[in-house]
């Protein structure tokens, strides 16, 4: 059970423009109660699936304005790790801290801080993209009124005529775009994305990268489980490799 333990990797974005921008944005977020100058940590986190050990003693800190790329081969527990960070899966050992508090104590208060786009799209085949997005954004407490939803769908490159089709008839990539469009509505500080680039074409990948970049420079935090490199300046990125 050998484990790669990246102990608290701290990233200080070197770009001066970024610093200025993110400090300002963070201040605004902070004042609006959306984010505090704090972080998201896991402490000695261990997980298993069934009786199979996936990873152990993972301690990592995600600071505002940084992206944590979770990499590892298939079956190394990336999805489990992400679900654990959401609070969907409880770790065998260790704790997950948000602003220094255990997320198990925070419960719904913590859920209100994150947007999770999982391996499954979480959209209904029978509903149109607009309906899907409206309902899920309203339920999650994101902006869902008026033109926000169509605008978000256009931002991921879904043209107006597609908005009114049942999602069932869309392609895999288009469905993925609908799921990811939630990120254009989300004002949550923490985004947890499981293979967001899977089945996306180059254009959509660019849109998403830009969106992630914008979120980071607003002082947001992103955790991405991914196989591919993300075109985001390495200053913003730290990597966590899960190994058995």
């Amino acid at each position: 059970m050998s484990v790669n333990v990246p102990s608290d990797v701290e990233i200080t974005p070197g770009d001066s423009r970024f610093l200025y921008y993110s400090t300002l944005r963070q201040f605004i977020y902070f004042r609006s109660g959306r984010i505090s100058p704090n972080m998201f940590q896991t402490v000695a986190l261990s997980g298993s699936r069934g009786e199979r050990q996936l990873f152990s003693d993972v301690s990592v800190t995600v600071k505002p304005g940084t992206l944590l790329a979770v990499v590892g081969e298939n079956g190394s527990g990336k999805t489990s790790f992400l679900r654990m960070l959401c609070g969907l899966l409880s770790p065998d050992r260790g704790t997950i801290l948000w602003e220094g508090k255990d997320i198990r104590q925070l419960k719904e208060l913590y859920s209100a801080q994150l947007t999770y786009v999982g391996h499954l799209n979480g959209i209904k085949d029978e509903l149109t993209p607009v309906e899907n997005l409206t309902v899920s954004a309203c339920l999650a407490g994101d902006e869902c009124a008026g033109g926000a939803v169509p605008k978000a769908l256009e931002a991921v490159g879904l043209a107006r005529p597609v908005h009114r089709l049942p999602t069932r008839v869309l392609s895999q990539g288009q469905k993925r775009r609908v799921a990811l469009a939630r990120l254009w509505l989300s004002t949550r500080p923490l985004w947890l994305l499981d293979e967001p680039f899977a089945s996306l074409d180059v254009t959509a990948t660019n849109y998403l990268t830009q969106r992630l970049h914008a979120h980071l420079s607003h002082g947001g935090m992103v955790v991405v489980a991914t196989h591919q490199d993300i075109a985001i300046p390495p200053d913003f990125v730290q990597q966590l490799r899960l190994t058995r």
């Binding site: 261990s46 298993s48 009786e51 199979r52 050990q53 081969e73 050992r93």
Partner: protein, 253 residues
Amino acid sequence: MSNTGINWFKYSSPQAFHLLAGRMIPWFSVVSIGLILIGLYIGFFVAPTDATQGDAYRIIFVHVPAAWMSMFLYVIMAIWAGIGLGLNARPSFMMAQAIAPTGAMFTFLALFTGSMWGKPTWGAWWVWDARLTSELILLFQYIGIILLRSSIDDLRRADRASAVLALVGVVNVPIIYFSVKWWNTLHQGASVSITAAPTMAGTMVTAMLVMMFGFWMYSIAVTLARVRCVIADRERLPSWGKQASMADVAEAR
């Protein structure tokens, strides 16, 4: 085996418990056999023949303790399940798992001996009496819990899901009892009643109580033995898991 990162030592040590249970089982077995033998002796040779029911009443020496244990074990199982859910403690889930089959066995026994008693006394193998009916439903619940556990592969989920079901069931048991009782009295009146038991001789009560304690000790012994099996079974699993993960690695390369 000892060093495979099994993470269930964190709350208590099942291995120590495994040993302890192994030491306790003989004692409980001996006491149980002794009590049951004494109970049978009193029941068959000391207790007099009942004036109204003849010797058929002697069935209660096994029927009543079995019925008692069936309900008692359900409550104990639910308590272990509740502790397991509350504290996230694996050993208590194992206890709940170990109790269920014995409880189901006693429930079946209570039903079987009940109908054996009912035929000569009431003239029918089965009567939709409140106690019988709720006992039958108790059996369904035991079976449901065992089936639910066996159809979930993931141990952690199996533990917790069957614990939830056990707790829901424990709320349901008194409700069922009273509902059936009221239904019964509303439908057919009190033509048949087992609550009006004949005043029992002291020796009869003694025999019944001794038998009950005997069954109780038996249940403890059997549950401990089964918990040992459960621990042994689960202990083997991580090694399978390890092999499986090795296979995965080989496949990935």
